[in-house]
């Protein structure tokens, strides 16, 4: 048997979380070192998976591990994991965000005020890693039940992380709002998943949560029947696509169910915001793709227009709201709504360009927004405000943070030679092929995005340092710099050399296109 690399990746943070809890609470640096070692290990393995992924050999799942978890009567659940071209980059992304998240949470007990996480780091890292393990798990799950299992593991610690370590003013409200939205979303999706489970089981005679089996059953026509929907006979896929897709897409911040997301970002501590916007929102989009579009392709075709409508609104709407925010975190939060809207926009095209762009955008946005939140956190820890009008001239005391934010801004604006362009360009190409008017409307966001990014950069990083902050801004730590540099390098590398990632995503897109019936 081969080395079970995916399982090791998934369980590294979970095991580390337990180990961290065993360390005495006052040995903060031991806690942090353990966390760092675990995250480096997980990152190294996810890089290895990414590098070893054979793009041309086979367009299905790779690094597969499978064993029976539970098999009672009609109930059959496997522990079944694997990655394809869509999920391998996201596993890598999770590794990166985890690594950089640990780095910037390290902080130091500065006389001007502590930076990073100084309050109960042991519990913080334990919960953070529980979250990371869940995220890794969702990306590699090939079993529906397993996917839900990890999904809930990923969502649950968010509540605690925000409610305990979050911004005092809104943390309880935000944590509750987030939990409420996500649980309801997942419950709705779960019902859809159960419908698939039963229907596929009835058609094939073997009841299983295995997504590959369900997909086979779907291709054999198991989902082609009609269901009674309040008296009307409606195709199965048409009925169930929306609950499944939207249920997951709530976590992807789809409009009009996006509202929890900016509140959550604002209230969360820095590393959690990075995770939240960087990977957790990808989780929603990814699960919506994996379970919604790939298992119910006809439903996807039927409802694509609605998803595109939501996405178009989200893209413009998020940008407009971001434009008027005075709190940096709210601005980034709403810009995430806009950028995740682009992911949905790409998914809704159901064509090669759009899906490829969506895959690239998930990665690009993950890195970019993690960087944004990291920098914002660094500023907030020092200036004790995130209000854009109360800041200024930050480029002098914090040059690394400023350059990082500017590079992130360029990505956000879709500037060529940065990853954002490589992602947005195919999305717009893909949308144009399906519905040019949507592309035209969404393109408004390109201008608005440039406006709010430029405004923010100008007001926060240039001009005069406000008198009350002069001399109070301590420099960032070396670890912070490593985190910023890592994230920036990735965005530039992907922007200059899109072939580092695009072929892999396309191998994943190819199998989706096959499911959708023809390339």
């Amino acid at each position: 048997m081969n080395f079970p690399v995916l399982s090791v990746i998934v369980f590294t943070p979970l095991v580390a979380a337990v180990l961290i809890l065993l360390i005495p609470a006052d040995r903060k640096n031991e806690v942090r070192t353990t966390a760092l070692v675990a995250s480096v290990f997980a990152l190294a393995l996810s890089v290895w998976v990414y590098a070893q992924y054979a793009i041309n050999a086979y367009t299905g799942y790779q690094f597969i591990e499978k064993m029976t978890w539970l098999s009672v009567g009609n109930l059959h659940i496997d522990y079944h994991v694997g990655v394809d071209g869509m999920s391998a980059p996201l596993v890598l992304l999770t590794g990166i965000v985890m690594f950089t998240g640990v780095l910037i949470s390290w902080g130091k007990d500065d006389p001007h005020g502590p930076t990073g996480i100084q309050d109960r780091p042991r519990e913080f890292f334990a919960f953070l890693f529980l979250l990371a393990g869940g995220v890794f798990g969702v990306f590699v799950s090939l079993d529906l039940f397993l996917l839900f299992f990890f999904y809930e593991i990923a969502v649950f610690p968010m509540y605690l992380l925000i409610a305990i370590w979050g911004w005092v003013k809104t943390r309880e409200y935000a944590a509750m709002k987030l939990t409420l939205y996500l649980f309801i979303g997942s419950v709705v999706a779960l019902i859809g998943a159960l419908a698939m489970y039963w229907t596929a089981g009835q058609a094939t005679g073997t009841y299983t949560f295995d997504m590959l089996k369900i997909s086979e059953a779907q291709q054999a026509g198991a989902f082609n029947g009609l269901v009674n929907f309040f008296g009307a006979q409606v195709p199965f896929q048409v009925v169930w696509f929306l609950p499944v897709f939207l249920g997951f897409a709530v976590l992807g911040g789809i409009w009009p169910f996006h509202n929890w997301s900016p509140d959550g970002h604002v209230a969360a501590p820095t590393a959690v915001s990075m995770f939240h916007a960087g990977v957790l929102m990808k989780l929603g989009a990814f699960a919506a793709l994996r379970v919604g579009i790939m298992l119910l392709p006809d439903g996807a075709k039927y409802w694509a227009w609605l998803i595109m409508l939501f996405a178009t609104v989200a893209v413009v709407y998020g940008a407009y709201i971001a434009f008027v925010q005075t709190d940096m975190k709210y601005m980034i939060g709403f810009s995430s709504v806009s950028h995740m809207g682009l992911v949905m926009f790409g998914l809704s095209t159901l064509n090669r360009d759009g899906l490829t762009g969506a895959g690239l955008q998930m990665f690009s946005h993950g890195v970019m927004t993690a960087l944004f939140f990291a920098v914002t956190g660094m500023i907030y820890d020092r200036a004790h405000t995130r209000q854009i009008p109360e800041l200024g001239g930050m480029i002098k005391p914090l040059p690394w943070a400023a350059v990082g934010f500017i590079i992130g801004g360029l990505v956000s604006m879709g500037m060529p030679f940065f990853s954002g362009f490589v992602a947005e360009f195919p999305i717009f190409m893909g949308v144009w092929q399906v519905m040019p008017i949507a592309a035209i409307i969404a393109s408004i966001s390109i201008v608005i995005t440039a406006a709010y990014i430029m405004n923010n950069i100008r007001r926060v990083f240039f001009g005069e340092v406000p008198a009350n902050l002069e001399g109070h801004i301590s420099p960032i730590t070396a670890l912070d710099k490593v985190a910023i540099a890592t994230l920036c390098l990735l965005m530039v590398a992907l922007g200059l050399f899109p072939w580092l990632m695009a072929p892999m995503i396309q191998s994943g897109v190819n199998s989706i296109l096959t499911l959708l019936g023809g390339a």
Binding site: T170, E172, Y173, M176, K177, T179, L180, F183, I184, V187, L190, I191, L194, A195, W198, Q202, L226, V227, N228, F229, Q233, V239, N259, Y317, Y320, I321, F323, D353, T356, L410, M415, P416, F417, V422, F425, P426, F428, M429, W432, Q433, P436, A439, I440, S443, I444, I446, V447, I448, A450, A451, M454, N455, R458, F462, G463, W499, A502, P503, Q506, A519
Partner: protein
């Protein structure tokens, strides 16, 4: 080295210089400018080699230098990016490389290299001067070196990289990449003195306005790509592809597919080349250092816009409607900007509006199908306008010297009414500026501007575009008039202020570029003298033969006609003469008849845009989307359901859980009766179990529904 390899290498030195300066040499000014200027020289040399090799190729138009590599995979094939040099590319490369080189060199002197550090200079503000004590113990104020000297060369390098990338691209995608890089650099460079609020505002305005055009261009690219599956020029400009584009009907204003794509791409140019109605950014962009003005507004960025439409001409010319729009915008801009230029007093702003107007000439030329004339004017204009900008920078520098000498900082060194008589103080600047100004005015026979402008007018006349002809002739007249106004106010007469008396000629790094550019401002016109000029049967115009070869169908040589020639003679000489006659007697702004408020305030476009576009956008964002939709509607619904669901939970807990179960079982756990919780907002009830319960209720209800539906359906 093959020519193709060399073309790939052309853009690289400035990009390399950018990284070298940013990463390593930024502390050392001499090293930084050596790296910057050195990179410019390398690119210039490579460009010259490519240019002369291109000259040696017969029928370069049919067999351009091309080379491409895979970049972004698109399914079964790759999206290729590559380089190509055809006659148009070669001609553009020629002027771009020379002007960029000269601007780099000029920047050394402009930013006061070799001068002491300023007394109070700070990064982000222009240098204020330094006090030095000479051998006799006298204190003098002298110009001080720019505090962010190295950074300037880094940005300039990145800018040059963008422009070279744009010129050598064989496809719209990398062209767009270069285009956007320049947009970014224009932001960085216009806002170079970011300590000045006006510079910051101008930088954002420039970036945003051009970005609006860019979005349309991107849409055009998306449309083109989805229609043809390629963005490479030579694949698009084939007979069958163009026919295919014409046959598409986008159901939009009666345009053909080709027409709509052309129009969208053209809007990108309207932004980049500051055509009406997106012209508003260019004059404000004068806040940047003067080499930047020369770079952005003469040699590279605005030229890039025109270059892009010239490049797309085979596509644009397919739809008559689009061409009419192009011709209209160009012609209107030419006259519109010229009228504003007459009323400006800032030496750079006159040039700024003049640039807008001259770009209008090119666009108009293209709109009436005068492909070669547009390209010709693009190149001659780049030379003489770069010369004029650099010359104005030299004047300002000289004036600043005077200001430092007198110490009266209330005198605006850019206001022409504070100048006068500078010809004696700054002779090289004066003569080169005169050459540039005469070229701009189209001074007959001698200057490059005459030949290129005359060709546009001749084309308009010969093809029967009478409205275009008359309007452009009028604009040309005004051009000559305001140019002579500028020269008269600045250099002629007697100094009007003490500062002008103490102005001083600038160092060689600034004057040498002026002299080099003046050679081209005169000589470059001679390569495009029409063969039938005055029916003299001269040798065929080299420029026409060479650049015309880019098109599949070689444009025809128009027959000689005396009327446009006479008109261009009259407007040029008449404008110059009137300008001199009037302004030699004007000594202050009050005496100037043309200080009309409407013109002085640029027809109130900035104010109108503020009301019509910017305020509504802010309202839409702040009030409509955020307050009404997001916080009102969506959160409103949520906050309605929050208490409602909380109510259900509370009900269950209150009346079933507590009353029935707890009291029935009788364990009396009073601890579970928590407070309803502090209500931060209505939704906030503080009890997660209620929400979990709600989830379960929903699960149960929908599960029952599912059971019902599946059961009934089977």
């Amino acid at each position: 080295m093959t020519t193709e390899t060399l073309i790939w290498l052309i853009p690289l030195p400035p990009a390399l210089a950018f990284f070298l300066i940013v990463l390593f040499t930024n502390k050392n000014k001499a090293l930084s400018h050596s790296v910057g200027v050195g990179a410019a020289v390398l690119s210039w040399l490579a460009s010259m080699v490519v240019f002369f090799r291109a000259l040696g190729v017969e029928h370069l138009g049919e067999h351009p230098f091309v080379s491409s590599v895979n970049w972004l995979p698109t399914g079964d094939t790759w999206f290729k990016i590559g380089v190509a040099i055809d006659p148009l590319g070669a001609a553009v490369l020629f002027f771009v490389s020379i002007t960029i080189f000269m601007i780099f060199l000029y920047s050394v002197g402009y930013h006061n290299f070799g001068q002491p550090k300023g007394d109070h200079d700070r990064a982000g503000l222009p240098p204020h001067g330094a006090t030095v004590t000479d051998e006799q113990g006298h204190k003098h104020t002298v110009p001080s070196v720019e505090p962010m000297y190295s950074r300037f060369f880094a940005f300039l390098g990145l800018f040059a990289f963008g422009m070279y990338t744009l010129v050598v691209s064989d496809n719209l995608l990398t062209m767009f990449v270069g285009w956007e890089i320049m947009g970014l650099c224009s932001y960085l460079l216009i806002g170079f003195w970011y300590g000045k609020p006006s510079a910051r505002a101008a930088a954002i305005k420039a970036f945003m306005t051009t970005r609006i055009g860019d979005v349309f261009m991107l849409l055009g690219i998306a449309f083109l790509y989805s229609a043809t599956g390629t963005l490479t020029f030579r694949e698009i400009f084939t007979e069958e592809m163009l026919q295919h584009l014409v046959s598409i009907d986008p159901h939009f204003l009666g345009l053909t597919g080709a027409g709509l794509i052309g129009l969208l791409l053209f809007i990108g140019t309207v932004g980049k080349s500051a055509q009406w109605p997106l012209h508003v950014w260019l004059p404000d962009a004068m806040e940047g250092p003067t080499p930047v003005s020369a770079m952005i507004h003469a040699a590279t960025m605005v030229s890039a816009g025109v270059y892009a439409v010239i490049r797309m001409f085979p596509l644009l010319s397919l739809d008559h409607n689009t061409m009419t729009v192009v011709a209209f915008i160009g012609t209107f801009t030419a006259i519109f900007a010229a009228t504003i230029a007459v009323a400006q007093n800032d030496i750079k702003r006159v040039l700024a509006y003049s640039t807008i107007s001259q770009l209008g000439f090119m666009i108009a030329a293209l709109g009436i199908g005068a492909y070669v004339a547009a390209a010709f004017h693009l190149i001659t204009h780049a030379f003489f306008k770069a010369l004029l900008f650099l010359g104005s920078g030299s004047v300002i520098h000289g004036m600043e010297h005077g200001v430092l000498h007198t110490g009266n900082h209330s005198v605006d060194p850019q206001d022409m009414f504070n100048m006068g008589g500078l010809r004696k103080k700054m002779p090289i600047t004066f003569w080169t500026f005169l050459i540039g100004g005469f070229a701009l005015s189209g001074f007959p026979l001698l200057t490059a501007g005459f030949w290129s402008k005359d060709e546009i007018l001749a084309d308009a006349w010969a093809n029967g575009h009478l409205v275009v002809f008359v309007t452009l002739a009028l604009a040309a007249f005004m051009t000559a008039f305001y140019t002579m106004r500028q020269i008269t106010l600045t250099f002629l007469g007697e100094p009007r202020t003490k500062e002008a008396e103490h102005a001083q000629e600038t160092p060689w790094t600034m004057t040498v570029p002026l002299m080099v550019l003046s050679v081209f401002a005169i000589g470059y016109g001679w390569v495009g003298i029409p063969e039938n000029f005055l029916n003299l049967q001269l040798a065929p115009s080299w420029f026409h033969e060479f650049v015309g070869g880019t098109l599949a169908e070689h444009p025809e040589v128009i027959p000689f006609n005396p009327i446009p020639l006479i008109v261009s003679l009259v407007v040029a000489l008449g404008g110059l003469l009137l300008g001199w006659l009037y302004y030699r007697n004007v000594n202050s702004a009050k005496e100037d008849f043309f200080q009309i408020p409407l013109l002085k305030n640029k027809y109130y476009f900035d104010e109108a845009y503020q009301v019509v576009f910017i305020k509504p956008v802010i309202w839409l964002s702040e009030v409509f989307t955020y307050k009404w939709l997001d916080q009102g509607l969506i959160d409103g619904i949520l906050h309605f359901f929050g208490p409602a669901t909380g109510g259900i939970g509370g009900f269950i807990r209150q009346y079933i859980d507590l009353k029935v179960i707890n009291e029935f079982i009788g364990d009396g756990l009073a601890a579970v009766t928590q407070e309803t919780g502090r209500t931060l907002r209505p939704i906030q009830t503080g009890r997660i179990q209620q929400y979990m319960m709600l989830s379960l209720v929903i699960l149960a209800v929908v599960g029952a529904l599912l059971y019902f539906m599946l059961g009934a359906g089977l």
